[in-house]
């Protein structure tokens, strides 16, 4: 009985992050990007856009935001300590989709994905050409 009380007291005074670790899950996170599409003139041409990234958590914790292209290397955008949500502007410059990943730093298994797709007006053709307007 005494051991159980001591265990309960120790658990009650453990760090907030430990309580957060045990309570947070993916469903309590939100990661939104806007816009979700970048339009470029030609397939293969880099597309430029200012992407607004918003993330939110039900509890304060340490999170890091990464981005990567298809099969590419993960690159760190920013980390936040003891935060419940942030708004971030990302300068998008890519000819292919970029995936954004929010990762909880206390539990790397808690992660959320979203992406900005790239589409184009003119599909790539094997024939090189320069359109004359006149």
């Amino acid at each position: 009985m005494f051991c159980r009380v001591v265990t309960a007291i120790l658990f009650a005074y453990s760090g907030v992050s430990q309580i957060a670790y045990s309570q947070i899950n993916v469903e309590q996170l939100q990661l939104v990007v806007k816009p979700t599409k970048c339009i470029t003139l030609r397939q293969g041409r880099p597309c430029f856009a200012q992407i607004e990234i918003r993330w939110q958590s039900v509890i304060k914790d340490d999170f890091c935001l990464y981005h990567y292209k298809n099969e590419g290397v993960q690159q760190l955008i920013h980390c936040w300590e003891n935060s419940q949500g942030e708004r971030f502007i990302f300068n998008f410059e890519s000819s292919e989709k970029i995936t954004f990943e929010l990762i909880n730093q206390q539990n790397k298994n808690i992660r959320l994905f979203t992406a900005v797709e790239v589409s184009w007006v003119h599909k790539g053709t094997p024939q090189k050409r320069r359109w004359r307007l006149f």
Binding site: R130, W131, F134
Partner: protein, 264 residues
């Protein structure tokens, strides 16, 4: 764009193995005055609906050229040689628009005495050999064409065009310069005044060979997956032999175009 180190044979086989097509509808306004004397530009001429087509299959291609007409075929050709940085094409292309006096009158409120009585002139299209040189964002084309106007004479035309693409964010800005040389047979056919075409307003005239120099600037911007914005202007200068023709309106020609394009 293939990497510099890519095998050239592989690049050629990739080029020749695909079927590609693109259909575009452009809605907008254009200022494209006639080069012929006293042909008035009416209000409806400013409205522009154009259809462009671009087909490619195993080296064969077909595409419209924006400035020639709204829907007529621009050029059809075959890639004789297609390298990463240069190519040689055999093409059949529409170069010069002919005229019939009664057709010119259709959009006019009044007769055109300066052109009345002229013999009809056929369109100037023909075969050409075109060399293209590609470098980064520039392309230089040089083509030598023989027009099929009639079988009595040979109608030669030499055209070169240099285009430089400046990508800025999502904008594509094109700067272009062109030089077209018309043999005397071509100039004479379209712009000379024969003895049976003499009138109180025009004397007999021989145009002789001449040239047209052009500079262009145009810009494109993507609006959505199927729509783009396009605008541009062109300034052309015609040499004296051409510009001095009694039926030629202006030595300097300015053209504008602005619109949105739907791409399939």
């Amino acid at each position: 764009m293939a990497d510099v180190g890519e095998d050239e044979n592989q690049q050629e086989s990739e080029n020749n193995g695909e079927f590609n097509w693109e259909l575009m509808f452009e809605f907008g306004a254009a200022y494209d005055p006639s080069i012929y004397k006293d042909v008035e530009y009416s209000g409806t001429d400013y409205l522009n609906l154009s259809i462009y087509i671009d087909l490619y299959y195993k080296g064969f291609f077909l595409r419209s050229i924006p400035n020639r007409s709204t829907s007529d075929l621009g050029e059809i050709g075959y890639e004789l040689i297609a390298k990463e940085d240069w190519g040689l094409d055999l093409i059949f292309k529409f170069y010069i628009e002919g005229y019939e006096y009664k057709e010119l009158l259709k959009d006019q409120d009044l007769p055109i005495p300066a052109l009345e009585g002229l013999e009809d002139k056929d369109d100037g299209d023909g075969y050409a050999l075109r060399y293209s040189k590609y470098q980064e964002n520039t392309v230089l084309t040089v083509e030598l064409a023989r027009l099929n106007i009639d079988r009595e004479k040979e109608y030669w035309l030499f055209e070169s065009y240099y285009s430089h693409l400046i990508p800025y964010k999502n904008w594509d800005i094109y700067l272009g310069a062109g030089l077209t040389f018309y043999s005397h047979n071509i100039s004479d056919y379209y712009l000379s005044i024969n003895s049976n075409e003499i009138s109180p307003l025009r004397n007999e005239y021989q145009a002789g060979s001449g040239f047209e120099a052009t500079v262009e600037i145009s810009a494109q911007y993507p609006i959505s997956k199927n729509w783009s914005f396009n605008a541009g202007m062109s300034q052309s200068y015609f040499s004296g032999g051409i510009a001095d023709s009694p039926i030629f309106e202006r030595q300097n020609l300015t053209q504008f175009r602005i619109g949105i394009r739907y791409v399939l």
